[in-house]
Symmetry: C2
Subunit: 206 residues, 2 copies
């Protein structure tokens, strides 16, 4: 503890735990702790209750690995969504990001990680058994939406190879210039990829 | 809510409450919420319990207004401290900052604010009744450690006037060049104040 002098133990405890959160240093933790102490007690108690229930109320869908409040998530339960088109992502949070666009109406599959030999993460550490079953049951398309990093790319390659003989159509999300991106500030890899994978003008006016 | 799409309600609730903390925007709140969900449940429950007890366990000393776990704080209870020398500060957190130096061995008095006509804060909004009593009981020295802002300075002036006839010695914490401060980067007000209030060389070699 950095601020143990004269700080009441209950406050010190809260500050110490807050300081263990990502991006929260001891100074920020102290500021948050003091704020939680200065606001109405009911506010802080409400946050405490929400945190206490977080783990017991939020789990993962046994089918696709998304966040779920029941055994199956609301994507898998939604009959208006196309169960034959599955978008594969690395983390549950990636699903939230995809949904922001409101464009995709298929199902998801969350790997809960990516291949990373350095960190000892191989295929057996990923959520693949459920995916094998889904592919075997006859999917139309599997969209590989792993990240555009070395590990994400390697994971996509591995999965493409794994399911190549299954007959499912395998696609990879496009990479190129981000919306609003100025060429001036773009790295050369993105730019050369955007040039290589240029599409016919008609296809861009969707 | 910014991320309501596909996010389980219990997580959305936590994220929304975290986003109300100072310096925590929706993106940081989401990152913190996801971190709290991904770490062991016991960690998050421990934070929840610490928060639930924070307000009920931490109050203010009825004598000086510092943070206190009982009715009187551990500064006021410490017989090795000089009860005749009182350092007056604006906020409870200022006491923690003073104590970091380990140099002061007197008591404190927390105003819980400062005079600020713009915000409708006058003397009656401050913790002054208890201070009147302490001064009347015969203090040796009252150190005005309000902040070096316009409002903090005005508050110090007001208090100096209020207690001028009480016989207590009234002092103000020194202002000048901060430790490690390069003159090059210092504002002109601080520098001219440091020059005006220069002290004899002997006094600096403490």
């Amino acid at each position: 503890m950095i601020y143990d002098f004269g700080m009441p133990a209950p406050l010190a405890r809260v500050v110490e735990m807050l300081a263990s959160l990502p991006g929260v240093g001891p100074k920020t933790a102290l500021r948050l702790g003091l704020n939680l102490l200065s606001r109405p007690a009911a506010d802080t108690v409400a946050l405490a209750e929400a945190l206490a229930r977080l783990h017991e109320q939020v789990g993962f869908c046994e089918n696709c690995g998304c966040f779920a409040e029941q055994t199956v998530c609301h994507f898998c339960n939604d009959v208006r969504r196309d169960a034959q088109t599955v978008c594969l992502v690395e983390q549950p949070v990636d699903v939230l990001m995809m949904e922001r666009g409101h464009g995709f109406r298929g199902h998801y599959h969350v790997l809960h990680g990516r291949l990373s030999p350095v960190d000892g993460l191989g295929p057996e550490q990923l959520n693949l058994a459920a995916l094998d079953k889904r592919v075997a049951s006859g999917l139309k398309e599997l969209i590989l939406a792993t990240s555009a990093t070395v590990d994400g790319e390697a994971t996509a390659h591995y999965l493409a190879r794994r399911f190549t003989s299954s007959g499912v159509k395998i696609t990879r999300i496009a990479r190129g210039v981000p919306e609003g991106g100025e060429l001036e500030y773009l790295d050369e890899h993105t730019l050369s990829r955007a040039l290589d994978q240029r599409v016919s003008w008609d296809a861009t006016s969707i």
